[in-house]
């Protein structure tokens, strides 16, 4: 079959796999964006920069303190999440009563600052981050070779997405969170500390971005612009999925990653733009997004 359309199976499945990997990042990042937007009503433009920060924390702690990948996977989300909490306390909380657009503008400004600082100190060229020794090597699946690290990335992000979903849908804390998303005043009247919940939710969303950043470090190069390029695509993913449902944004992320992979096989020229085209099509057919509700 593959010989018929002139594409060797290794290339076909290789591109599909790359698509799924991209999809994993889209899923984790849009999940964080949706979480933050739900409770804070802020579109977190800094999300890309925080993803980049996660990768840099991993790279810096490895280069200067010899911290290994597995420890970074824990440390980076904590460090960057704490940074996010500081950001929320210092800047974002002043804007909740204003138009949502101010949140977007503020986080855009913060993203410029973070990206600028890293460009200033680390230059624009990428830094390589080695694959951890436990995950080097390939699996022969018969029709293709699957690099272990890539399999791990897909599994880890699936795991993170599913556990976030479980926490939000099945636990008491998640129920509070969903309630506060619907009606914060009422939830606060029941004696639940909503401002604290807002701060922690932002921290969690940011930690998810940093986690994705560490996962990405060995695949893509660690560089200051890695976040900005990513965040715009993730915005398109969010528009397609709608931010109404957590599972929706995860599923949309993976689907679009696959779509991107398929495009790379059949019409590589359009691979950069296919997600934006998909966004336009979805806007035409279902303006609220695949899983969205119009407010």
């Amino acid at each position: 079959m593959f010989e018929m359309i002139g594409i060797p199976p290794q290339a076909f499945f290789g591109q599909l796999l790359l698509g799924v990997i991209n999809g994993s990042f889209y899923a984790v990042l849009s999940l964080g964006l949706a979480l933050i937007f739900g409770l804070l009503n802020v579109i977190n433009f800094t999300h890309g920069a925080q993803y980049m920060l996660g990768a840099y924390v991993a790279w810096l702690s490895m280069s200067y303190a010899g911290v290994n990948y597995w420890l970074s996977l824990l440390i980076a989300p904590v460090v960057v999440g704490t940074f996010g909490i500081l950001m929320e306390r210092l800047f974002l909380r002043w804007l909740y009563k204003l138009d949502h657009l101010y949140g977007l503008l503020l986080t855009f400004g913060l993203a410029l600052i973070i990206e600028g600082v890293f460009r200033q100190f680390f230059g624009i060229s990428g830094q390589p981050y080695p694959i951890p020794p436990q995950l080097t090597g390939l699996q022969n699946l018969g029709f293709m070779f699957l690099p272990n690290y890539r399999a791990w990335v897909v599994m880890a992000s699936l795991f993170i997405c599913l556990s976030t979903w479980l926490v939000i849908e099945k636990t008491r804390l998640g129920a509070y969170l969903r309630a506060a998303t619907e009606n914060p005043t009422l939830v606060q009247a029941f004696g639940i500390n909503v401002p604290l919940m807002i701060t922690l939710t932002y921290g969690l969303g940011v930690a998810l971005a940093a986690f994705a950043g560490v996962l990405a470090a060995p695949i893509y190069q660690v560089k200051p612009t890695m976040g900005a390029d990513m965040i715009i695509v993730v915005f398109a993913v969010v528009v397609i999925g709608g931010m109404g449902s957590i599972m929706g944004s995860v599923i949309t992320g993976f689907i679009l990653g696959l779509l991107e992979g398929l495009t790379k096989v059949f019409y590589p020229e359009a691979s950069n733009t296919i997600i934006f085209v998909a966004m336009a099509v979805v806007l035409l057919i279902k303006p609220a997004g695949l899983f969205g509700r119009i407010n």
Binding site: L104, L106, I113, R119
Partner: protein
């Protein structure tokens, strides 16, 4: 008004002599950015739509203009028109998609579309990828005027800029522009009044995109280069920054912001990534502390200043005489219970007396009063208030009957009057009144009357109304007492 006109003439004069003092290429770059920001401001300031992808129109217009001038050999004005036409068409397409969603989604959609244009420009052969279109000829304007001299080109750019700004002003002050503002303030209400708001939004988007691409085309002639920089999302962010820094929804704000951002780019370029950091810091500072922008803050300060000039002591003679006349009226009304007719007659008499003598009334500089009703379709009471106020020398700006609270608040914010006069009929209008009071500028007093205040003694306290007026006599008395307190 006269001050503003004088200011504009002074600015134009400064624009005419500026190239003798400042490097003309920098001025031209700033003017291109200024036109771009003014076009962007039409959307953000007057329709309330934040486009985060305006670089697509600016940058792609630039590519088309460059291609038309270099490859097709068009004269500069035709090349610019081609760029503008293509940019407007793109605006139609993008706007048609983007206005399906609002607010935050609108911003993300426009950003994503612009990124698509960016990738297209990276790959399309006619843009020459990373190199861009280089050595674009400036050519001869109308085939006659050589634009290769920086000075000649500068005056051409200045002309296009001024015409573009005038065109935008015309749009904003047209009936179409007023509908746009209504959409910004309260879209559901505009829809309920029968406006097809999405058409208005789309047309505004196309106009904004068109002028943005005109600005981009002009920049191509200045630098003779069309490159990826102008379609990159950074450029989209910069135009937001210019507008925010200068003042969203002000006439000159975007231009001021554009000059500052261009200056930062030009003079700080050698310190590398610091330009981005500085821009980010300006964003943060503007959003947190400075949301009106430079021009917005200046306007607020100027309004405050002209108001405090009311306090200087005028020659007491003619004012005393007028006060006495008012006191006579009040005394006459004390024993009788005056009818509506007698208030209006007295007001007419006083106004005639004033205009015969060219007398200013109670004030040397008349205070401004906005009047409106929210639930009163007749406005009989309001008419008495307006006529008496006019008789006493207050400048009246009538917003009309049955106004929405939003439009009243908006007018108060814009005009910052001394008084807002309202009549309120229904008790259930209390939320509206309270809402208006909450959004009143700190210098404005709400002076209100009507059945609602009579039926419910708590109405004034509940809504935060500053002054309750029982009848015409009480209103006149209030004006006199207020004037006394102001001069004391």
């Amino acid at each position: 008004m006269r001050h503003i006109k004088m200011g504009h003439i002074a600015l134009l004069a400064a624009g005419l002599v500026a190239p003798y003092f400042i490097y003309p290429v920098f001025l031209m770059k700033s003017l291109c950015f200024a036109l771009f920001a003014a076009a962007f401001n039409l959307l953000l300031g007057y329709v309330g739509l934040l486009s985060f992808g305006h670089a697509a129109f600016f940058g792609f217009g630039a590519y088309v203009c460059g291609h038309a001038a270099k490859i097709w050999g068009l004269t500069p004005e035709l090349a610019m028109l081609t760029g503008t036409a293509v940019g407007s068409f793109m605006g139609l397409l993008f706007g048609w998609l983007a206005i399906r969603r609002q607010g935050i989604y609108f911003a993300m959609i426009t950003l994503a579309m612009a990124q698509m244009v960016y990738f297209f420009c990276v790959q399309a052969p006619f843009t020459h990828g990373e190199d861009g279109i280089q050595a674009i000829p400036r050519g001869f304007l109308f085939g006659l005027i050589d634009l290769n001299s920086n000075m000649t080109l500068y005056y051409f750019v200045l002309t296009v800029f001024v015409l573009g700004l005038l065109f935008l002003q015309r749009i904003i002050h047209s009936p179409f522009g007023h509908v746009l503002k209504a959409v910004r303030e309260n879209e559901p209400r505009a829809i309920s009044l029968g406006y097809k708001t999405h058409r208005y939004k789309l047309l505004a988007f196309v106009l904004s995109a068109g002028i943005s691409s005109l600005a981009g085309s002009m920049k191509v002639l200045v630098f003779q280069l069309a490159s990826l920089t102008d379609v990159h999302w950074h450029a989209s962010g910069e135009v937001v920054l210019m507008t925010l820094l200068g003042g969203v929804g002000t006439v000159l704000g975007p231009a001021v912001g554009a000059f500052i951002v261009a200056a930062i780019q030009n003079y700080l370029a050698q310190i590398g990534a610091w330009v981005t950091i500085i821009q980010g810091v300006i964003f943060v500072v503007c959003v947190l502390t400075f949301r009106r922008g430079i021009i917005g803050e200046l306007e607020a300060w100027w309004l405050g200043r002209t108001r405090s000039r009311n306090d200087y002591a005028p020659d007491p003679g003619p004012f005393m005489e007028f006060r006495q006349k008012l006191l006579d009226c009040l005394n006459g009304w004390e024993s009788t219970s005056p009818t509506r007719e007698s208030y209006l007659n007295a007001a007419r008499e006083l106004t005639t007396w004033r205009s015969d003598r060219n007398h200013p009334g109670l004030w040397a500089l008349p205070p401004l009063m906005l009047t409106a009703t929210i639930d009163d379709g007749l406005g009989h009471g309001l008419e008495v208030i307006e006529k008496l106020a006019e008789a006493a020398g207050v400048r009246i700006h009538s917003l009309g009957l049955l106004q929405s609270p939003e439009s009243i608040s908006e007018a108060c914010r814009k005009l910052a009057p001394r008084f807002l006069g309202l009549t309120v009929l229904q008790l259930d209008s209390d939320d509206w009144v309270a809402d208006i009071v909450r959004r009143l500028p700190s210098s404005t007093l709400l002076v209100a009357g009507g059945p609602a205040f009579q039926y419910d003694e708590d109405f004034a306290r509940r809504t935060g109304t500053h002054v309750v007026i029982k009848n015409g006599a009480a209103f006149l008395q209030f004006l006199m007492e207020w004037e006394e307190r102001a001069t004391a």
